[in-house]
Symmetry: C2
Subunit: 198 residues, 2 copies
């Protein structure tokens, strides 16, 4: 997605060869017009999937996922991230490890908002090792619902998340795929090769 | 706002006389069409204020604030909530107490995204005692920027936040004002009386 790539080139800050900061338009400050384009593009890519619900993870996933849900005319559900839980009644809970933050957190969704047979599109801001995406997928599947695909705003293609998700049979659509990061240059990869959905 | 009041009546769950759960359309599952109406309504109420930026607090403020920012053609900035911080370089930090969660957290905004003289609209999902709203206002003012108003999705008018904010001179626009909560009935208050902005 050209508009997104341009934004990454113009405003992204490379902290090191693994970390790209995009807090001027996605993670802290948010560009609403860009979110609209992103939502429209995800909706276009998944429009024939009869999606019942869009699922994301707080907080940075909410903006792109809300716009996607708007275009797909489906409710948005955002999973909550908590340190660790004592009270887990009526919740789906999955433990997710963040390589960036080097910490584990519980990702939770209320049982009443996912039903067996529902078709769910997972949206996230970043894909690195796939921890968050797998965690959300496990929640969807624990509910007896189906992951029809994953929409990623920025994929760090030099990490193994995309490959692992693809091997697990998920259809992953990333709007920007970063092949390599250095202070001098952000290199984009080609569009990912479509795989059939599960 | 009729559409919002209807949604509260039909889907809100009164946990006790102080707590209303609206996690089917605002706090966990989110209704994107309703968020669009909410954003449009806030934008209408503040359209003559030449707003430079919309500020909210993660996570539940993001959806209504994003739509407001979209209609106002302004960037959205979401403050982050953290347990307690050791590294506060380049951050505005304010401590906010949550009566609901009975805990204190640090609310932070990166210094680079607020500039002196900017006109800022603060959006939040709930107004109870005003702690979060005052915290965000202190951040805006610490940056030398101006709070031109506050847009609240649901005001619990039986708590003192609205009165305190009004006394402090802030213009507060709430889309639904709850006069009282009981298991049997949710009573709405009249629209708030407009006060001149600071």
């Amino acid at each position: 997605m050209k508009e997104l790539q341009d934004k990454i080139i113009n405003e992204g800050i490379v902290l090191n060869e693994e970390v790209l900061k995009v807090d001027s338009f996605l993670n802290h400050q948010v560009d609403p017009m860009l979110m609209m384009s992103i939502g429209q593009e995800f909706a276009r890519r998944f429009e024939n999937q009869a999606i019942d619900k869009v699922l994301t993870l707080e907080s940075s996933g909410i903006a792109p996922a809300l716009m996607t849900a708007l275009y797909l005319k489906a409710p948005l559900l955002f999973a909550r991230k908590q340190k660790s839980l004592t009270l887990t009644d009526n919740l789906y809970v999955e433990t997710v490890y963040s390589f960036t933050k080097q910490q584990t957190s519980d990702v939770t969704v209320s049982r009443k908002f996912l039903s067996p047979g529902e078709k769910v599109l997972i949206i996230d801001d970043f894909l690195a090792h796939g921890e968050a995406a797998f965690g959300m997928a496990r929640i969807v599947e624990a509910a007896g619902a189906e992951v029809v695909g994953m929409g990623i705003v920025i994929e760090k293609s030099f990490q193994d998340g995309y490959r692992k998700l693809q091997e697990a049979g998920y259809r992953v659509e990333s709007l920007a795929r970063i092949a390599s990061l250095s202070i001098e240059r952000i290199e984009f990869a080609e569009q990912n090769i479509p795989v059939s959905s599960r």
